[in-house]
């Protein structure tokens, strides 16, 4: 299997002498659905930024589809849902307007969206189950629906790698389950590689192929079933069945 993400002995610190990540080795194959979990402050968001090429490791190598991540040439294949995704401004952007922003890189920067781009936007909205509220302002929707809209935005760019950083922050347990099921469907239907990063992994545990626990370095990497029982999240009890 060729690798979508490859980190080899990656270390990183924002200041000299301080390591946020230390000797991290991680490979994610194309088409895999992997959850990266760990405590707050454990280096997860930094890991995401290195994977996406937004930060360069101070030591080791970070590759995206075989290219150095910081100068990856095919960025439009990356879909990214940032931590605490929310609208930048106050204008009442509709779901369709938010999702259309996902076609920015692929659809060109000048002029209006072409017909094909508009079709892909509508398709992405339908996939996440928001067709009925496509022209409704995002801010009037629930937290779970808003996250679905941001996932649709990432999907509209037809990503080969979808990276979600703390996608369930501020979302209730029921919506978390629903979001995890949606990601599983997208993974199965589209074959997209998914990197799900969160401080808790209960909602996606039954869907992911691998679970990686990070606390400055990788402390566990394997199928969720191999994880010691006391590490599982009791708020998602179905996960172990």
């Amino acid at each position: 299997m060729s690798l979508a993400v490859e980190l080899e002995s990656v270390s990183f610190g924002y200041r000299a002498g301080q390591r946020v990540l230390d000797e991290v080795d991680l490979g994610i194959g194309e088409g895999e659905f992997v959850a990266v979990a760990g405590p707050n402050g454990g280096g997860k968001t930094t890991l995401v930024r290195i994977v996406l090429g937004l930060e360069r490791p101070v030591q080791g190598t970070a590759l995206l589809f075989g290219e150095p991540a910081h100068r990856f040439s095919r960025r439009r294949v990356l879909g990214y849902l940032a931590q605490r995704s929310e609208l930048g401004g106050d204008a009442p952007a509709t779901v369709r307007e938010v999702v259309s922003a996902g076609r920015l890189a692929a659809g060109g920067l000048l002029g209006p969206l072409r017909r094909r781009d508009r079709e892909l936007v509508a398709e992405a909205i339908a996939r996440v189950g928001l067709r009925d509220v496509a022209d409704v302002p995002l801010r009037t929707l629930s937290g779970g629906q808003q996250q679905r809209a941001f996932i649709a935005k990432a999907l509209a760019g037809e990503p080969a790698l979808l990276v979600l950083d703390e996608p369930t922050t501020g979302v209730d347990a029921e919506s978390q389950e629903s979001l995890a099921a949606l990601l599983d469907t997208l993974h199965t239907d589209l074959g997209v590689t998914i990197l799900y990063v969160s401080h808790e992994f209960g909602a996606v545990e039954r869907f992911v192929q691998r679970l990686v626990l990070v606390r400055r370095t990788v402390v566990f990497d394997g199928p969720p079933g191999d994880l010691p029982g006391l590490w599982h999240d009791p708020s998602h009890t179905h996960a172990r069945h």
């Binding site: 990356l78 930048g88 401004g89 204008a91 009442p92 307007e97 922003a101 890189a105």
Partner: protein
């Protein structure tokens, strides 16, 4: 009122600025950079002072200084030299200080400065209107071409950066658009009030609109109506046009906020 040429010219210039200022301001407000117009305005003041000192058209030197200021704010911010509001403060205070020193050196600390600080739309010439209309049309054309990109980056700048959108170039383009708007609006509402015309119509529209696109168009409509109504009121009330235009825009915001409050009940 329209029998006099100075009022016809004033309405022409006011209409262009009334549409352009909120069109650019829309993107600044969405990115929570509402005060950037003020920062650029203060740099434009240094440009005016340089023009007076060098005996060159102050509008031209203000345009050059405003573009330099707009780009400088973005470069300071994006390269991490100073955080967003600090970059703005740095350019803001340097601009006003440089302006005061240059104006003093030129011996021009007098009422002549008022036309740049508070506007002088009633002294506008045909040539001024032609320049404002041409640059205004170019500005609106660029916005029409870049609308989707500017809106997309306002929605999610980091996501756009990850996907390979050249954020730096987009931000510099927005800074340059803001600078051109400030320089053009200087004669209409003045350096001290230009940012108001970029922000207040957008704030009013946000309270009435149902989408980003409708907010954008409603902002321009409110800006245009504020400029035309403000000029009309100032003509009959013998009030300063720049201040009256901004007060009308502030009134529009008040009405929009009230309307939304009543609609929400």
């Amino acid at each position: 009122m329209l029998d006099t040429e100075f009022m016809r010219l004033a309405f022409g210039a006011g209409a262009v600025v009334g549409v352009l200022a909120p069109a650019v301001g829309f993107f600044l407000v969405q990115r929570r950079q509402s005060l950037i117009g003020d920062g650029i305005g203060h740099v434009a003041f240094a440009g005016v002072a340089a023009g007076i000192l060098l005996d060159v058209s102050p509008v031209l030197t203000a345009l050059v200084a405003a573009i330099a200021g707009g780009v400088a704010i973005e470069l300071l911010r994006s390269r991490g030299v100073a955080a967003g509001d600090q970059a703005l403060a740095l350019v803001f205070y340097t601009g006003i200080a440089l302006g005061v020193v240059l104006v003093s050196a030129a011996g021009a600390l007098d009422v002549g400065l008022f036309q740049y600080l508070f506007g002088s739309i009633l002294t506008i010439t045909r040539t001024d209107v032609a320049v404002i209309a041409t640059l205004g049309a170019v500005g609106l054309g660029v916005i029409a071409l870049l609308y989707r990109t500017l809106a997309g980056v306002a929605i999610d700048e980091e996501g756009a950066q990850v996907a390979g959108v050249p954020i730096g170039a987009v931000n510099v383009a927005l800074g340059a658009l803001a600078a051109v708007t400030v320089a053009l609006s200087m004669r209409v509402v003045g350096i001290l009030l230009v940012a108001a015309l970029m922000v207040l119509p957008v704030s009013a529209a946000t309270r009435l609109a149902w989408s980003m696109r409708s907010t954008f168009f409603l902002s321009m409509a409110i800006g245009l109506a504020s400029a035309l109504a403000g000029l009309t009121i100032s003509y009959y009330a013998d009030a300063p046009p720049g201040g009256t235009i901004v007060l009308v825009a502030a009134g529009a915001f008040g009405l929009a906020a009230l309307g939304r409050a009543f609609a929400g009940r």
